[in-house]
Point group: C2
């Protein structure tokens, strides 16, 4: 395949993934046909199968790359700071901003897991476990060094992640909270949840 044909293939793949995100967010995985996605991407139904074996494969690509990016974002934020307080600030700020800015794809990533094949869902659950572990270990480090004071670190970590994920459900771009404003408020709330001193 020559370079321009390879580039066109990459463009089509990106267009398909974006069209699939919009369709799944609007009508759910089971309410979307491969034909809908192809039409929204300006391709023939056969054009979908050049890049993806099935509709489930498209959802898996979206879900897998979404979770990998989130895990990398959380690990970067932890690596950027030296203390549990500053690490929590970074993680919660980035996580909240992401779920506000990318709320459409975040809804697909978080609310359509049950539509994945058992093998794919197991793989995604492993990535989710790694994200949860980062948060839990961060809260536990803060409790251990006396920066945080909370009776149930695991539930506190769950609550902090849950607050961030649920932004994708309720956040609206046309509301009066910018992603940065929301991120700052949620950093303050997360520090309260873990009892930062």
């Amino acid at each position: 395949m020559n370079a321009s044909r390879a580039a066109r293939g990459g463009d089509n793949r990106d267009r398909l993934l974006r069209a699939a995100v919009r369709a799944f967010a609007e009508r759910g995985f089971h309410g979307t046909t491969t034909r809908d996605i192809a039409a929204a991407a300006g391709l023939s139904p056969a054009g979908v199968y050049v890049h993806h074996r099935s509709k489930e494969e498209l959802l898996y690509q979206i879900s897998h790359s979404g979770h990998e990016r989130t895990l990398a974002m959380v690990r970067d934020a932890v690596a950027r700071a030296d203390t549990p307080v500053d690490q929590l600030r970074g993680v919660v700020g980035d996580f909240a901003r992401h779920h506000a800015e990318e709320n459409t794809s975040a809804r697909v990533v978080n609310y359509e897991l049950a539509a994945l094949s058992p093998e794919h869902v197991a793989e995604i659950r492993e990535l989710r476990r790694e994200i949860s572990n980062e948060l839990r270990e961060l809260v536990e480090r803060g409790v251990a060094d006396g920066s945080f004071d909370c009776p149930r670190p695991r539930i506190a970590a769950t609550a902090v992640l849950s607050l961030g994920v649920d932004i994708a459900r309720w956040y609206r771009e046309d509301g009066d909270l910018s992603p940065d404003d929301l991120a700052a408020a949620y950093v303050d709330i997360a520090l309260r949840v873990v009892g930062a001193r």
Copy 2:
């Protein structure tokens, strides 16, 4: 209609609503047909239309009664207690327990709003506004009388509701947290979010 025929009609209506909740939770509104729901309820497709004009009407019934019950639950919890701290304990405890115990129907009630007709969605949004207002006013009362200390009461109220709603996404009956255990932990977390003294 004689009494036993009326009772049978009520039974069928309840069976249909329960079957619709399960189907919508499993495959989403757009991925579910009226035929699926009828089959799950042990009725003919025509039997659905005796009670509901359309699939959308079924979703509306589920959503409307779910939101009305939640609003009544929140108002009851506020009325039961005298101080903002005790009111918040009651509201958050009941809200969290409900979203754990009834997580399947809570997912349908909270994640399928976009599938409602414009008139129905407006009606449901009004009920949601009333639920949000109860929480916001409760936090504001606590700030006003000095029981709570938080810089942004409206965002704190949003976060407390959001924590409760998102339980329906992640809670599993076979996990190691009972609804009562989760409710108690979330009461503690909500008191932290509002800065209860």
